[in-house]
C-alpha cells in the first residue's frame, strides 16, 4: 500500500521526522532522520512580505503506522489495532484479537457438562448469567428436556437474564460515556449496576462468576424477599438511568462524538453477521427473544427498539431503550412467576437430594455418577441460540454420548462484530476510534474465548 503524496514542493520526506523507506535502507543516521526536513525555500517564503503564499504550502505528509493497544487506557478491552494514519485520518487498520484467549472450547471438551458452567461465566463477563442460560439451553435441547423444564426455573432464568442484560448495557454505556469525557454518568451507571450485582450476589453467592444455572433448571430458589428487593432496586435504577440519559442526550460534546460517527448500513450489517443491539441500531428488528422465543419470552410484552442511521448514537440509544424494555419484562415476570420446583426432577440430570445421598445407596451412586461421569447426553449435534448482551449467543455442541461435550463451539457476537472495526473506523479520525470501539462493546472474554 503506497500512499506517498507528492507535495507541491516535490519533497518526499515525511513531516515529523519520520524517515522514508529509502533513508532507512541506506542506514543514514542509524535509520532515523533527526529532524523534520522542511521545504528548502520555506524560510525565504516565511520572510516574504506576502504571507499568502505560505498558506499555499502543503505540509508534506505520508501515512504512518502506529500501534493502539493491546493495553490502551481508553479502550475497555484487550485488543491491538495497528493503524495506518494520514495525519489524524485512519487510512487502514488491522484489528488483532486473541489476547484474552483462554481455550474455552478446548477446556470444555475435557469438562463434564456441569463443569462447563464456570467457563461460560467468563465469556461475556459483564452478563455471565446470560451465558449460563445459553449453554444450559443448548445441552437441554440435545437432552430433549427443554419442554419439561419447571416453570419457575424458566421464570428465574428470564429474571436473572434480564438483570444481566441491564448490567451489561449499563457497563457499556457508562464506560463509553466516560471514554468520551463524561465521568458522572459512568459513576452513576456503575452505581446502579452495583445495586443489581448485590442482588445477584445475594442470589448466587458471587458478584460476577455466578455459575448459578444448572442443566434442568437453576441451582437454588430465589432467597426470601428477592422479588420485593428487585422491585425496589429497579425503581431506584430507573431514576438513575433517567438522570444519566438527561446528562448525555443533550450533551453537545457527547453528541458530537457520537452522531454520524461509524455509520453502518443494514445490508452491510447483515453481511458482516451483526446481531444484537448493533444490528438493531441499523434498523433491522432482529431479536432472538422475539423472533425465536425461548423459555417463556413469548408471554411478555416488550418492544424491540431499532435505530435509523446505524451510527454510534443509535447504538447508544438502542441500548438505553433496551434497559427500559428489560425492566418491562422484569416487571411482568415478577408478577407472573409461579411457585414450584426450580430443578427438573429427573435422576439422569439433577443431583439427588443431599439427605437421600447420605441415606440410600441408589442416590449415592447416582450422585457419584453425575459428579464423576457427568450428565450423559445422547450422541448428536445441536445449535442453540439465545439473545446475549451483544447479540445472538449460539452454542454448537457435538456429543458422542458421554458426559463431556465432544465439541463445544461458541458463536460469540463480540468476535463477529469486532471484525467490522476496520470497516467502521476507515476514514474516521483517531479520536473516533474510542467511542466506536466502546459502542460495538467488544468484550474480550467473549471475543477471544
Amino acid at each position: 500500500m503506497s500512499m506517498t503524496t507528492q507535495s507541491k514542493t516535490g519533497l518526499k520526506t515525511l513531516a515529523f521526522g519520520m524517515p522514508t523507506p529509502d533513508e532507512i535502507a541506506s542506514g543514514g543516521s542509524h535509520g532515523l532522520s533527526a529532524r523534520p526536513k522542511l521545504p528548502p525555500d520555506l524560510m525565504s517564503k516565511l520572510n516574504a512580505a506576502d504571507l499568502e503564499e505560505v498558506e499555499d504550502i502543503e505540509l508534506p505528509t505520508e501515512p504512518m503506522t502506529i500501534n493502539m493497544g493491546p493495553s490502551h487506557p481508553a479502550t475497555h478491552g484487550t485488543v491491538r489495532i495497528v493503524l495506518t494514519i494520514d495525519g489524524e485520518t485512519v487510512r487502514d487498520s488491522d484489528v488483532q484479537v486473541g489476547y484474552l484467549h483462554r481455550c474455552f472450547e478446548k477446556e470444555a471438551e475435557y469438562a463434564t457438562y456441569t463443569q462447563v458452567f464456570p467457563y461460560t461465566d467468563r465469556l461475556n463477563y459483564v452478563s455471565p448469567l446470560l451465558n449460563n442460560v445459553g449453554f444450559a439451553l443448548a445441552v437441554e435441547k440435545l437432552l430433549g428436556i427443554v419442554d419439561r423444564l419447571p416453570e419457575r426455573a424458566q421464570y428465574i432464568r428470564v429474571i436473572i437474564g434480564e438483570i444481566s442484560r441491564i448490567t451489561d448495557h449499563l457497563t457499556c454505556l457508562g464506560a463509553s460515556a466516560m471514554e468520551v469525557g463524561g465521568f458522572t454518568p459512568f459513576l452513576w451507571m456503575i452505581k446502579a449496576r452495583e445495586w443489581l450485582w448485590e442482588l445477584l450476589e445475594e442470589l448466587t453467592g458471587a458478584r460476577l462468576t455466578h455459575s448459578y444455572v444448572r442443566i434442568g433448571g437453576v441451582s437454588q430458589d430465589l432467597p426470601e424477599h428477592f422479588i420485593e428487593k428487585l422491585r425496589a432496586t429497579l425503581q431506584k435504577s430507573t431514576s438513575v438511568i433517567g438522570e444519566c440519559e438527561s446528562l448525555l442526550v443533550k450533551n453537545r460534546i457527547f453528541r458530537d462524538r457520537m452522531d454520524g460517527v461509524a455509520t453502518m448500513s443494514a445490508e452491510d450489517a447483515i453481511a458482516m453477521g451483526w446481531t444484537g443491539p448493533c444490528l438493531r441500531s441499523t434498523g433491522v428488528p432482529y431479536d432472538v427473544r422475539k423472533d425465536h422465543p425461548y423459555l417463556v419470552y413469548d408471554r411478555f410484552e416488550f418492544d424491540v427498539p431499532v435505530g435509523s442511521v446505524g451510527d454510534n448514537y443509535d447504538r447508544f440509544a438502542v441500548r438505553l431503550e433496551e434497559i427500559r424494555q428489560s425492566m418491562r419484562i422484569l416487571d411482568q415476570a415478577m408478577k407472573q412467576i409461579p411457585a414450584g420446583p426450580v430443578l427438573l426432577d429427573d435422576p439422569r440430570v439433577a443431583m439427588p437430594a443431599k439427605n437421600a445421598v447420605y441415606n440410600t445407596i441408589e442416590s449415592m451412586i447416582g450422585h457419584f455418577k453425575l459428579v464423576i461421569d457427568g450428565i450423559k447426553v445422547p450422541a448428536g449435534e445441536v445449535y442453540s441460540y439465545t439473545e446475549g448482551g451483544n447479540g445472538e449467543l449460539g452454542f454448537y455442541i457435538v456429543s458422542d454420548g458421554t458426559g463431556r461435550p465432544y465439541r463445544c463451539h461458541v458463536r460469540s457476537p463480540s468476535f463477529i462484530i469486532t471484525q467490522s472495526m476496520s470497516k467502521l473506523i476507515l476514514g474516521a479520525g483517531i479520536a473516533d476510534i474510542i467511542p466506536t470501539f466502546g459502542m460495538i462493546n467488544m468484550i474480550g472474554g467473549e471475543c477471544d474465548r
Partner: protein, 164 residues
C-alpha cells in the same frame, strides 16, 4: 421449520448433497467439498439465506473424512435456519485440508474462517487474509485438533517486534 428449504436444496443439488436430516428442529445438509461454493451461492442468492450465523469445524479424529466444516445459515426474511456441513479429508502427505472460502459471499466469514484455520489447520482457498487470529504467529500446531494434547505448553516468544 425450514424442512421445505432443505427439500428444495436436495432437489436442486442431487449429486452434491451426500445426506440430509432434521434432528431437534435443526435441518442439516451434508455437502461435498467441490460443490460447496455453488451450494452456498445458491442458498444466498436464490434461497434467501442471506445471514451467515457461524462457521466452525469439528475434528472427528480417527474417522475418515477427519474434519467437518459446519456453517449455520439464517434467512432474515423468513427466520428459517439451515446447517450445512462439508466433510473434509486430511490431505495425504500433508497435514492440511482445503475448502473454498465463502468470505466473498458473506464478509463475516473472513475472521471465522481464520479461526477455523488457526484452530484446526483447515485451509480456505482464495481467502483474502488467512492468518492465525486467536493464537500468535509462532504457535506450532492447531490446538483444537484432537491430537493436540491439552497439557502441551509452548513458549510464548515473539522475535519479530516489527509492526504490521
Amino acid at each position: 421449520m425450514s424442512k421445505a428449504d432443505l427439500d428444495k436444496l436436495v432437489a436442486q443439488f442431487p449429486q452434491a448433497i451426500v445426506s440430509s436430516h432434521s434432528n431437534m428442529g435443526d435441518d442439516t445438509a451434508v455437502v461435498t467439498v467441490p460443490a460447496l461454493k455453488d451450494v452456498m451461492r445458491y442458498l444466498r442468492d436464490t434461497a434467501g439465506f442471506d445471514f451467515l450465523v457461524s462457521v466452525t469445524a469439528v475434528d472427528f479424529f480417527g474417522r475418515e473424512p477427519r474434519f467437518e466444516v459446519v456453517y449455520h445459515l439464517r434467512s432474515m426474511a423468513t427466520g428459517n435456519r439451515l446447517r450445512i456441513k462439508a466433510p473434509v479429508h486430511e490431505e495425504e502427505g500433508g497435514p492440511v485440508a482445503e475448502v473454498a472460502t465463502v468470505s466473498d459471499l458473506w464478509p463475516t466469514a473472513n475472521w471465522q474462517e481464520r479461526e477455523v484455520y488457526d484452530m484446526f489447520g483447515i485451509k480456505f482457498t482464495d481467502h483474502p487474509d488467512l492468518r492465525r487470529i486467536l493464537m500468535y504467529e509462532e504457535f506450532v500446531g492447531h490446538p483444537l485438533r484432537k491430537d493436540y494434547p491439552k497439557e502441551q505448553r509452548q513458549p510464548l516468544i515473539r522475535r519479530d517486534y516489527s509492526l504490521s
